[in-house]
Amino acid sequence: MDAANEMPSFGNNAQIDDYGDEPAYLGPCTRCVLFTLENEVYGIQVKKIREVLRVGNIRNVAGAAYGVLGVINVRGVIVTVADSRSMYNMPSREIDDLSRIIIVELDEERTVGLLVDFVMEVKDIPDDKIEPLSASKEGASRYIQGIAHFQDNVIILIDVEHMFAGIE
């Protein structure tokens, strides 16, 4: 999958061409899963993601840290689910049919589920469209790796490593 991230295939470019307003691009890309929160588009690198699940039963855990919704059973492994909204200080929202849990693999041993409003698609974002965000900014921006202006969308790329940094 890593190789695919760095080497855009012609198939992907054809897809980009479909939009018509972007020229064919052959440079390095980052493949991302795009999802929405409060009508904003966010992206997480595909190589960090194991799978995307429909929301099943989330078992609440009394006394858990802020933002933790509970735990779910992913084929016999207990995975903690965090609400991505609370990570960005947004009010939480009822879970509906479009809600999804993105299973993020931080490393071999640590896996976290991230509840999002709606998962859009998987897309290759050209690296030269990504503006890195300086890490010095305050507040919520500490989880943001960069912002991509791409195909009329502003995509906020999430730095999951940072988002769950320090958790054990």
Binding site: N57, V61, A62, G63, I72, N73, I78, R110, T111, E168
Partner: protein
């Protein structure tokens, strides 16, 4: 350094170090046991061999010298006396520390303490000095020559000639050192050449002390099983031959024999022609210990597991074919029953791969007790029972620390000084028994001493002094509860705090750790007769029998070992004391914790009618947990809670119940802490 070889070496050497640890302490009690001496010699020799292969010089230096010392000891040249014991134990500690450092990733070891090497040499030196005093000069010159020879290469013919000439000229030299001198000059790792062998035979002949009674020589057990005889071994063999006149049965073990060639016409036997001592392989322990992260599993067990997995696949296929069709309920029931069998067997087989003998923990205690006893000037015998009892790998590791605390306590506080024991009419030597046995799905560990025991009155008084309870409460404690006071934090009756024990911290730690393992502690003591501390822990940490309790939809699992009784909540039987709800339970006031206040704090309740009270034992106290419903028993597989939840106290993990939902496993000490 080849990492793979190093790892192999570390695993093997760790076994040897463990064995040596035992053997050295045993040896102190029976310093002339030749089997034991040979075993120790072999241990050092094998470690040296491995270290030599990896060129770990400091380790080689120590092992080589220790090996030399034991070579002398087993030949009866040096006694394993107190001085030797101290030096050898120091050397052993250096070796075992080196192993730890290598295990921790160090690849370069610090230089050895020169004093240790000197002391070790001094032990063997005793032997060298004696012949110098009463032997002819030629002996010394022979020694010098040997030392001058290239230590890495084979001995050249010239050197050899010279040695032989010297030897001949010495004429009547009879002491062993002249014979010993030859091998020291030759490559310790290389094969012995025919010339060298020849020379040795000649030496033997010329030494004049050769006699026909040494026709059959025992090959020392340290012989390299690969078949090449090293010089040391050969040397030892020769020594044996010489000393065999004095001590005819120095090596009684039935090892392969080589016939001594007839005098004067040696047929140049190659050392490789000696029978391979295959028995040596058997001498190694069957159960290999492990490094931290790996487990050695018998191939047969793996085969069993593989076989069961095959069965599992068959059952799956069977179920898949049954799916969707107009299934005969009986077929389905058969398939499910089969699945039940296979998974149960598989579970048991996989669990077995995690089991290790409790010997792994016990092995360290002979040395601990020995050192402590010497330090305190006590005489103590440690008996180990049930060492072969199998225990989950994680438990083996987790139990080590608590047991060390308890054994130290027994030695320090339990066993009296020899004169006091004698005055009390007891044997001077105290006995500490460390025992393990399996009881159903539990392991029972006990530490028994025949020391002074505990005085419940002193304990009660101490509790009052420490402000833990008032006098009246203390006087109402029965003896058993009084003994359990020693498990409380900060409680110590020792008049003096030593660096061994007495700070009143250890037992508290023991209690906490045992509680973490879902175990329990029982203390029994008779004043003047001794104490017995028993620890019960479940056989495995992976599978836990639990009591399922529920709040509305959510279920929670309480470790069944802690559950003592369940009864209906009855508000008339409760009373509020100092803001804490209590319930009478068997003439005891037990605090009540309303779990819903914590687990369902968003839905406060004011009527607990119909709820149940689950009485649980937490450490040495009881607590009543008020729950909505009790759903019954279930064996659960403990799974760790995910990330971000490690800080949430009160949970030991999570599990997936029969219907696929998640139940949280309560960690009772954590729960009690939450409510206090």
């Amino acid at each position: 350094m080849d990492e793979e070889i190093l790892q192999d070496f570390l695993v093997e050497a760790a076994d040897l170090v463990d064995q040596l640890n035992d053997q050295l302490v045993d040896l102190e009690n029976s310093p002339t046991d030749s089997d034991l001496l040979n075993a120790v010699f072999r241990g050092f020799h094998t470690i040296k061999g491995g270290a030599g292969f990896l060129a770990i010089t400091p380790l080689i230096e120590v092992c080589h010298r220790a090996e030399n010392v034991f070579d002398k000891i087993r030949n009866g040249d040096v006694a394993y006396d107190e001085v030797a014991v101290e030096v050898i134990l120091r050397a052993f500690d250096v070796i075992s520390e080196s192993m730890e450092q290598l295990n921790d990733g160090a690849r370069e070891l610090p230089e050895n303490d020169p004093q240790l090497l000197i002391d070790l040499d001094a032990l063997t030196g005793k032997k060298v000095e004696k012949p110098v005093l009463n032997a002819s000069n030629s002996t010394e010159s022979a020694l010098q020559l040997a030392e001058g020879a290239d230590p890495d290469g084979d001995m050249s013919d010239e050197e050899f000639e010279a040695l032989l000439n010297q030897r001949d000229s010495s004429g009547s030299a009879k002491n062993d050192s002249a014979i010993l001198s030859l091998p020291e000059g030759v490559d310790p790792d290389g094969d012995m050449t025919d010339e060298e062998f020849d020379a040795l035979l000649n030496q033997r002949d010329t030494s004049g002390s050769a006699s026909s009674d040494s026709a059959a020589l025992s090959l020392p057990e340290g012989v390299d099983p690969d078949g090449d005889m090293t010089d040391e071994e050969f040397d030892a063999l020769l020594n044996q031959r010489d000393t065999s006149k004095l001590v005819p049965k120095i090596a009684p073990s039935p090892v392969p024999k080589i016939s001594s060639p007839p005098p004067k016409a040696p047929p140049k036997p190659s050392p490789k022609a000696t029978p391979k001592p295959s028995e040596n392989n058997k001498a190694k322990p069957v159960t290999k210990n492990t490094t931290e992260s790996t487990v050695r599993v018998d191939t047969k067990r793996l085969d069993d597991i593989m076989n069961l997995v095959g069965e599992l696949v068959l059952v799956r296929n069977r179920l898949l074919t049954l799916k969707g069709k107009n299934t005969d309920p009986e077929d389905l029931a058969n398939a499910v029953a089969n699945l039940d069998h296979v998974t149960t067997d598989l579970q048991a087989s996989v669990l077995k791969t995690r089991m290790q003998p409790v010997k792994k923990v016990f092995g360290r205690f002979p040395r601990v007790v020995r050192d402590l006893a010497r330090k305190l000037g006590k005489k103590i015998e440690l008996k180990l029972e049930g060492e072969e009892t199998d225990l989950d790998k994680n438990l083996v590791e987790a139990l080590a620390d608590p047991l060390v605390h308890l054994v130290r306590n027994s030695v320090d506080h339990g066993i009296e000084m020899p004169d006091i024991r004698a005055a009390a009419g007891k044997p001077e030597t105290g006995t500490v028994v460390l025992a393990a046995k399996q009881e159903g799905d539990h392991i029972l560990l006990s530490i028994t001493d025949d020391g002074k025991g505990m005085d419940p009155d002193v304990l009660r008084q101490k509790a009052v002094e420490k402000g833990m309870m008032d006098e009246q409460a203390a006087s109402q404690l029965d003896d058993k509860s009084a003994f359990e006071l020693i498990l409380s934090a900060g409680f110590s009756t020792a008049e003096q705090v030593s660096d061994i024990s007495g700070r009143g911290v250890g037992m508290d730690v023991v209690k906490t750790m045992i509680a973490k393992l879902n175990g329990s502690i029982d203390i029994d003591s008779a004043l003047g007769e001794g104490s017995k501390i028993s620890i019960r822990v479940p056989l495995t940490l992976a599978i836990l029998p639990t009591l399922m309790v529920g709040f509305n939809e959510d279920s929670y699992a309480i470790p069944l070992t802690s559950v003592q009784e369940i009864f209906d909540f009855n508000s008339e039987k409760t009373n509020k004391i100092d803001g804490q709800m209590m319930v009478r339970f068997r003439d005891e006031s037990v605090p009540l914790y309303f779990l819903n206040e914590w687990l369902a704090s968003d839905k406060p309740k004011d009527n607990y009618k119909g709820d149940k009270v689950v009485i649980v034992a937490v450490g040495n106290q009881r607590a009543g947990l008020v729950v909505n419903q009790v759903n019954g028993q279930e064996e659960v597989v403990i799974k760790p809670l995910g990330v971000m939840l490690k800080d949430a106290t009160g949970y030991a993990g999570a599990t997936i119940t029969g219907n696929g939902s998640i139940a949280l496993i309560l960690d009772l000490p954590g729960v009690v802490e939450r409510f206090q």
